[in-house]
């Protein structure tokens, strides 16, 4: 029994970890403030011009002139917010338009826009998988997927990350006539590795399961039309639901689900994450619609982003850093650090060089790893990527992370 009655006692261990880290004199990696943002790839942090290499702004749409113009126009014409739910007073012309843009982008019949990607996952998963149904999900799934499972009443069975055999073993053990939902991600955001969807999706179908794929970290630049890993691996027609976000490639905020399911529209009335929250502001849906339609045709940008990813991956490997994947599989390159303290030192050394990356630590990371997660942007110039490699080399030697 806990004597003090202070509900915050449960955080004591975490508070101690944080205090110990800050006691080493290192800059707090979790309270950085961007004082000014100059472009998708450059901001002023702590008064210093800093290259941004941890923003998920994959397609660099945040300062696109057409996107900005659309947002300004909607702000002027429709006001600063909707003050309401999508099912009451919160659906404006712009919300319908961005859903049309998504249907065009994915070539799908149905699209539903949520206020965040987190809400799209929790709102869809907790609603479609009910009592007596089974959810089979990859163990390294994003928190929003786990939370969607926890909010619903389905039986939840995780399988080992990207392990096709482990997935099949579990599918085999399920009651034959039960409702089944297999949840996968195209790109896993911690290590930047891609799922073997070409094997997993047909397997799920073979056992009569519906398939939901989260393409948050692939939409925009993986696959011929940027529809994600399921497009690149040729299985998009067998995927029942694709979940995505506007806060990465699209460059604003919001979440969505697209589907060809004939009864898809009913979710608008039964998904609590859709009904019981205010809809996105008009300016946000206008920027999203413009951005989605531009990304559709951005073949050259996709090609340049891949070139950046390959260059950074090879450069960091040659310098002697250990990376999350042997070859570049996405626009995320994760540098594996020996421990949190070393990771925080390296993170700070990079910041002093003028480079921002994400410091990621357990429990967000798999296998207790500390990671310096880099995400590339199509707007990073080739010269910037070379500059970044120089910064990694100096910071790595200064902190003893490389010889």
């Amino acid at each position: 029994m806990n004597g003090s009655g202070d509900l915050f006692d449960k955080f004591d261990e975490l508070i101690a970890v944080r205090d110990n880290l800050l006691a080493t004199g290192v800059t707090d990696p979790f309270s950085l403030v961007m004082e000014k943002v100059i472009s998708p790839t450059v901001a002023i942090c702590n008064g210093r011009e800093t290259i941004l290499l941890g923003t998920y702004n994959y397609m660099g749409m945040t300062f696109d002139p057409d996107v900005i113009a659309a947002g300004k126009k909607a702000l002027e014409e429709f006001g600063s917010g909707t003050t309401g739910s999508r099912v009451l007073n919160g659906t404006y012309a712009g919300h319908k338009d961005v859903e049309e843009a998504l249907k065009e982008f994915f070539d799908m019949k149905g699209a539903m826009v949520f206020s965040t990607g987190y809400l799209a996952n929790t709102g869809i998963i907790s609603t479609i998988a009910g009592k007596d149904d089974y959810i089979i999900l990859d163990m390294d799934s994003h928190a929003s997927i786990y939370d969607g499972c926890a909010m619903g009443n389905a039986n939840v069975v995780p399988f080992r990350h990207n392990d096709v055999e482990a997935l099949e073993k579990r599918l085999k053990r399920l009651p034959e006539d039960a409702g089944k939902l297999v949840i996968l991600e195209g790109v896993y955001s911690m290590l930047g590795d891609v799922a073997p969807l070409d094997k997993m999706v047909p397997l799920a179908k073979k056992y009569g399961a519906m398939v939901l794929v989260d393409e948050a970290h692939s939409m925009g630049f993986i696959g011929e039309h940027g529809r994600g890993v399921c497009e690149a691996q040729g299985v998009i027609d067998d995927v029942d639901f694709i979940i995505g976000t506007f806060s990465k490639s699209v460059g604003t905020v919001g979440g969505y689900c697209v589907s060809n399911h004939p009864k898809f529209e009913i979710l608008r009335l039964v998904s609590r994450g859709y009904v019981f929250t205010a809809s996105l502001p008009p300016s946000v849906v206008a920027t999203a619609a413009t951005s989605v339609r531009k990304i559709m045709h951005a073949k050259d940008k996709r090609a340049h982003l891949w070139e950046n990813s390959r260059t950074l991956h090879k450069g960091l490997t040659d310098l002697g850093f250990e990376l999350g994947t042997k070859e570049p599989q996405s626009a995320i390159i994760s540098v594996i650090m020996p421990d949190l303290e070393k990771g925080a030192m390296m993170w700070e050394a990079l910041l002093k060089e003028g480079l921002y990356v994400n410091l990621a630590r357990p429990p967000a990371t798999p296998a207790g790893m500390t990671l310096l997660r880099c995400s590339l942007c199509a707007e990073h110039s080739s010269a910037q990527v070379q500059e970044i490699l120089g910064m990694f080399e100096r910071a790595g030697r200064a902190t003893g992370c490389i010889d």
């Binding site: 069975v157 073993k169 579990r170």
Partner: protein, 80 residues
């Protein structure tokens, strides 16, 4: 019928592989507090138990299991 002693021996053997702190294990050992396993280690371990006995242990069932002895009983029931 699955023999409880047999289930217990196989589970203790699996726990050994994850027991990095070398904690003494009995049926009263608690996974979170005594073995100090975090949520991801628990998921990993449960996947091993599932494959060892060819059963499913849902996350909902896991939430009810706090001690090693409870897991032995649950696995014995599920494996029958």
């Amino acid at each position: 019928m699955t023999d409880r002693d047999d289930v217990k021996a196989r589970i203790f053997n699996l726990i050994d592989q994850f027991n990095k702190k070398g904690v003494d294990v009995s049926e009263d050992t608690r996974f979170a507090q005594d073995l100090e396993w975090d949520s991801l280690t628990v998921l990993d371990f449960v996947a091993e138990v599932e494959d060892e006995f060819d059963i499913l242990i849902t996350m909902n069932q896991q939430a009810e299991i706090e001690k090693v002895g409870q897991l032995v009983d649950a696995v014995k029931d599920l494996a029958e």
